[in-house]
């Protein structure tokens, strides 16, 4: 049954591009690609649920298709991430049915559907691949299809530049991943994961460290950990909203999957400093991600920075799990890993919801600049409600799903104090403080986003005349919001299957009792909070609409409201060391600073990484390339000399080697 469903998922995803060709010719079949895609994803979700429940190992051998062993297999970890892709993909596709129709005409529409389907297919293959070749092949296709999808909206200067950075960093990351698999090879009998797993047992310590570091950099680039996050705030905002939702919600999670697969499954336990490295990467990504997000007022770029933050939270959980494994405390490692994996699912749900919400806002107001929005909740009730759910979830407020995964991570950090060694017993509990600070900053940021975009007075004519989006977009978002609330109030439905997943990754331990206390306490708290809200709402209260007192002035207007920039100013001032903006103030005329005719103020923030890390590296590479150019004289005799010298060198090497 599972196999049939999974195969039909693969076939249907492959068939969508062909169907798009048909629907391009035949008007009546216009909605066929979307329906097929939706059906495929539902079948995939069902297959994943079945595989997750039974833990039964399914494999599909496609080696006859490829020059290398090409095997797909679904174990519990794969099933979990397959579920993530399908569960998030289906509402996004539903949202897209209306979104694509409203925004894209003619060939671009067909390209979008075809590429969307292939992009989903590549991600499905990434998380189910059971050989290194299949994994890398799909990994590369995933990058290319996502880049093509980003280009659907246009390809002028800005797009090209950002896509170039995206592709460059993705290929550098992919090279590191390839390198990680290559280090296995001398000790491995084959390219399939089973032989790699066996080879990992006999690898020398140096090779294991090399694999870990290459995997950390390679998957870290895709996941967007600081300072390898540079592409993320450039590529996500320019993509169509459903594509941003998939890239941020799902594609980043395939990197988490790759990292977990490589480090926990293939490589096995390592020294404790691996864990510290991942912890530090998580803490830095989390803090800097959210700090950069606070200072943004472009909604999609802000959300992209929040992806960096949430990947940081996931890495905090992974790092804690690695420290626990290295310290022989597998039970707590399971708890931390559960936190990380659940946060992957949760982030996929609420971040794709936020990006879809951003799409709905752009659809209704034609802008994503927070300073132009305001008062949207009055005009877009459904979008406003689901966006509020997403905001509460990403902030990690109780009764919403983000809290459950952050609670698991917190709980594992506190449990770190039980470790026998002093260093991890100090570091892990302190990380709880880092996570709390990240949570506090995220709360401030989303209070800003929601307060500025959806509440108060409209700041532009477009915002004042916004209309609710069509029902398909509303339904797509509502499904995701419902999932956030359900996991938030009844986390047991995900935690129990997830227990099976982590048992597979960290064998030889039982799930700690603490993991499930959250399932017991949340319903009570939910009952109290919801009960009190209902009781108080039912009490009779009279209300009257009356203009706000404007301190005796003729009346308030939207220019008197706090803007997004003003809201974040105190936090930006306190953390000014992080931002270091370039500010210029021009007062004209110059000789009369007290009686200026005009004052111009400009503040440009290039992230300090761009300035202090990437720019020097880039300059060094360009300088080295210039120096190497001297070898290229264009003179054929010199090239013959090079060949001769190379031949001599090879002969000498063969003689003495």
């Amino acid at each position: 049954m599972t196999e049939v469903l999974f195969n039909s998922l693969l076939v249907a995803l492959l068939a969508v591009p062909a169907v798009t060709l048909v629907s391009a010719r035949w008007k009546k079949a216009a909605s066929l690609p979307a329906l097929l895609l939706l059906g495929a994803l539902l079948a995939g979700a069902l297959a994943a649920v079945l595989a997750l429940g039974r833990g039964h190992h399914l494999s599909v051998d496609l080696s006859w298709l490829a020059p290398f062993p090409f095997l797909l297999a679904i174990d519990r970890l794969s099933a979990y991430f397959l579920l993530l892709i399908c569960v998030v993909g289906a509402p996004v596709v539903l949202f897209s049915t209306a979104y694509v129709e409203r925004h894209y005409k003619g060939p671009r529409r067909h390209w979008l559907w075809a590429l969307l389907s292939l992009f989903l297919l590549s991600m499905v293959v990434v998380v189910t691949a059971a050989t290194a070749f299949a994994f890398l092949f799909a990994w590369e296709l995933m990058t290319l299809f996502s880049a093509a999808l980003v280009l659907i909206d246009g390809d002028d200067g800005d797009w090209r530049r950002n896509i170039f950075i995206y592709l460059l960093m993705m290929h550098a990351g992919a090279a590191a991943v390839v390198g990680a698999f290559l280090v296995f090879l001398p000790h491995s009998t084959g390219l399939d994961f089973a032989s790699l797993r066996a080879a990992a047992m006999v690898l020398p310590a140096g090779a294991r460290t090399a694999i870990f570091l290459l995997g950390f950099i390679g998957f870290g680039t895709k996941a967007g950990i600081v300072p390898l996050h540079l592409w993320l705030p450039k590529a996500h905002p320019i993509a169509p909203s459903p594509v941003s939702a998939l890239m941020s919600g799902v594609m980043l999670k395939t990197a988490v999957y790759g990292f977990v697969r490589l480090v926990f499954d293939l490589l096995g336990p390592g020294p404790v400093w691996w864990g510290y490295l991942v912890l530090v990467a998580g803490a830095v990504s989390g803090l800097l991600g959210v700090l950069y997000a606070i200072s943004e007022h472009d909604l999609k770029r802000l959300l992209a920075y929040h992806s960096v933050e949430n990947i940081g939270i996931i890495y905090l959980g992974l790092g804690a799990a690695m420290v626990f494994v290295a310290q022989h405390a597998p039970a707590w490692a399971m708890l931390a890993l559960m936190g990380a994996l659940l946060h992957s699912l949760n982030h996929a749900l609420f971040k794709s919801l936020l990006f879809l919400g951003a799409g709905a806002i752009a659809d209704a107001t034609h802008t994503l600049d927070l300073e132009e929005l305001g008062g949207l909740f009055q005009r877009m009730r459904v979008t406003g409600t689901v966006f509020l759910v997403a905001c509460c979830s990403i902030v990690g407020l109780p009764l919403f799903n983000g809290f459950v995964s952050e609670w698991l991570t917190f709980r594992s950090f506190v449990a770190g104090a039980n470790l026998a060694e002093v260093a991890p017993a100090i570091v892990l509990p302190l990380m709880a403080g880092v996570l709390a600070l990240i949570g506090g900053l995220a709360a401030a940021c989303f209070a800003k986003v929601y307060g500025v975009a959806f509440l108060g007075r409209p700041r532009s004519l477009e915002a004042a005349h916004a209309c609710e989006v069509p029902w398909a977009m509303q339904t797509g978002m509502a499904v995701l919001a419902a999932a956030c609330v359900v996991i938030g109030i009844a986390p047991g439905i995900v935690l129990r299957p997830l227990g099976g997943v982590v048992e597979q990754l960290i064998p030889g331990a039982a799930l700690p009792e603490a993991a499930l206390t959250v399932t017991r306490m949340i319903p009570w708290v939910a009952a109290v909070v919801v009960g009190v809200v209902l009781v108080v709402r039912l009490l009779p209260r009279i209300s009257r609409v009356t203009p706000t007192w404007a301190c005796g002035l003729p009346g308030l207007d939207s220019r008197m409201q706090y803007t997004s920039t003003a809201f974040s100013k105190p936090l930006r001032k306190v953390f000014s060391q992080v931002y270091k903006p370039d500010r210029t103030v021009e007062i004209l005329p110059v000789d009369q600073p007290c009686f200026p005719k005009s004052i111009a103020y400009r503040s440009v923030r290039t992230t300090s990484f761009e300035r202090s890390l990437y720019r020097p590296a880039l300059d060094a590479i360009v300088a080295a390339a210039n120096r190497l150019r001297r070898l290229q004289t264009g003179n054929i005799q010199v090239y013959l000399l090079y060949m001769f010298l190379a031949l001599i060198a090879v002969l000498v090497y063969m003689r003495f080697a």
């Binding site: 109780p398 709390a436 709360a443 307060g451 919801v530 108080v536 209300s543 409201q561 105190p570």
Partner: protein, 312 residues
């Protein structure tokens, strides 16, 4: 039986909260050489406000009136975590301190949203400042609780209290001293007291909480004021329960509960007097000095956590 006691405790924290605010105000007035209002004035004020109508700005959304309710509900749920008389609590047995901290965050998030929905300058001003203070207070609050919970080997608030009842003052560790100072500073910041915020100010240059609730009136304002009083009461009750729990009944007998009630009133009185003295003798900090204060709290809580590992 325990359930009845737990419900009684919740009623004490929720019902006596306005009284505590009244007492603190009265003591402050006496220190400042005024007669001051009756200690029951906050109740009269709540009654008056509940009888009035809600005035809603024309641009406000339905969220404007929902936010105070969520604020009140979440604060009430947080109050159900605190043991005051008996070493148990309605939600404190299953819930832990992480949930407590995040329930307060839920309450604050909706208060900020409500403030932003007013559509005036003051709401945004207060919201932005509150976001700053609460963001910086979150880490020391959580780390202070983490330190105490590590020493007590439990994350549930009631188990920590039970652990502490069994020990005398000098069996508590230096960790407790550090965590107490950190949490006391955070409590001042979280509840908006001097030197972080002045609950009696109406000067727009300095106010934080008052600016946020400026557009609210009637029952909504009553809910906000009540929730604010509950928050003060629960923070002080939490400090008592974690750091000076002696007197809290561990059995459900009437005599033990009576002793617990007397001890609770005395300890609350000491805290109320200290708070009033502090508020009357210290000037409010400039807004951008508040992060320094919270930085001190953060450093102390980090030390507290570090010492938990070193004292083994």
């Amino acid at each position: 039986m325990t359930f009845a006691i737990d419900l009684l405790q919740l009623l004490v924290i929720v019902g006596a909260a306005p009284l505590l605010s009244g007492v603190v105000g009265r003591i402050k007035a006496r220190i400042q050489n005024r007669r001051g209002a009756s200690i029951f004035r906050p109740y009269a004020e709540l009654r008056k406000l509940f009888g009035k109508e809600d005035l809603v700005p024309p641009t406000a959304s339905p969220l404007f009136r929902l936010c105070p309710v969520v604020l009140f509900a979440a604060t009430l749920a947080a109050a159900a975590f605190i043991p005051a008389l008996h070493a148990s609590a309605l939600l404190g047995n299953t819930g832990d301190f992480i949930l407590l901290v995040y329930l307060l965050a839920l309450a604050r998030f909706f208060l900020i949203l409500g403030a932003m929905d007013g559509g005036s300058s003051f709401g945004g001003m207060g919201a932005s400042r509150e976001a700053l203070v609460s963001t910086l207070a979150e880490a020391p609050l959580l780390l202070g609780l983490v330190a105490v919970s590590i020493v007590a080997h439990s994350t549930s608030v009631t188990s920590i209290v039970r652990w502490a009842i069994g020990r005398h003052l000098f069996q508590l560790s230096p960790v407790h001293a550090l965590a107490f100072v950190a949490l006391a500073l955070v409590a001042i910041a979280e509840t908006g007291r001097v030197p972080v915020d002045n609950p009696t100010t109406h000067l727009e240059l300095t106010m934080i909480h008052e600016a946020m609730v400026l557009e609210y009136s009637g029952p909504s304002l009553a809910l906000i004021e009540w929730a604010n009083a509950i928050k003060l009461n629960l923070m002080l009750a939490l400090l008592i329960a974690l750091f000076a729990p002696w007197g809290i009944a561990s059995s459900a007998s009437i005599s033990a509960l009576a002793v617990a009630a007397v001890a609770y009133v005395l300890k609350m009185a000491v805290l109320a007097i200290s708070l009033a003295v502090l508020e009357s003798s210290v000037a409010k900090l400039r807004m951008y000095r508040v992060p320094d204060l919270l930085g001190v709290a953060c450093a102390l809580s980090i030390l507290a956590v570090a010492f938990t590992a070193l004292r083994r």
